[in-house]
């Protein structure tokens, strides 16, 4: 089924998201969590790269982390599904393995 990639750092702080996008294969999933959720903001510098990535990857964002940081779902780029921790677990089950881009 592919890999569930997790990115937990802001792409403005670290290049982990960029590395993840370089190496993630079509059919895989990307979960943005912790500070990684900042990548998913509408109007942000990563809107375009993520929209392009959405053609090949299933994109998810951990809702508790987004809410913690003051952003409602409407501020997210289109095409990113929100999940809670239960959904994170479901994704980890559904995909073959989990790869953490720290």
């Amino acid at each position: 089924m592919g890999i569930l990639h997790t990115v937990n750092k802001s792409p403005f702080e670290k290049s982990s998201l960029q590395s993840c996008l370089r190496y993630a294969k079509p059919g895989s999933a990307l979960l943005l969590m912790e500070d990684g959720v900042y990548a998913a903001l509408r109007g942000g510098a990563f809107e375009e790269p993520l929209k392009r990535a959405a053609a090949d990857l299933s994109l998810y964002c951990l809702e508790p982390d987004l809410k913690a940081r003051g952003f409602p779902p409407e501020r997210l780029i289109d095409g990113i599904r929100l999940v809670d921790y239960g959904g994170f677990v479901d994704l980890a089950v559904e995909y073959d393995k989990v790869q953490a881009w720290l």
Binding site: I3, S15, S16, S19, Y23, A24, K97, A100, W101, L102
Partner: protein
């Protein structure tokens, strides 16, 4: 015990943090479990393999010789990202140990092929 394909993913430079050295400890201990082990050096992780490291003046331990001793533990599959090397002005000649240089597509395949990926 079943045999799984383990991939140790190294993305950090040595000395500025302790992840590189401590991740080597996992590799060495893990070698005793007869799994199928590969090491991948990506992003700043390629700096872990830079030859000629000399941390004496910062009073840190030079643990880089351990990379050369990995084959004694039957850990022989070392892979390095060509893109990460080039972006940092490095080439295969800079490395202290023989490692296969992979392009991006090969790295994607490598990640796919392994059962378990350790990140540090």
């Amino acid at each position: 015990m079943e045999i799984k394909k383990f991939l140790y993913l190294n993305r950090r430079a040595p000395y500025g943090s302790g992840y590189a050295q401590e991740s080597l400890d996992v590799v060495l201990i893990g070698a005793a479990f007869d799994q199928d082990i590969s090491l991948l050096f990506l992003d700043d992780g390629v700096f872990q393999l830079k030859g000629g490291q000399d941390p004496a003046d910062i009073d840190l331990k030079d643990f880089s010789p351990a990379y050369c001793a990995l084959d004694m533990y039957d850990v022989e599959k070392l892979y390095v990202s060509g893109e990460s090397l080039a972006a940092r002005g490095l080439s295969g000649k800079d490395l202290l140990v023989k490692a296969e240089v992979l392009n991006d597509a090969q790295i994607r395949d490598l990640l796919d092929e392994h059962d378990v990926i350790f990140s540090f």
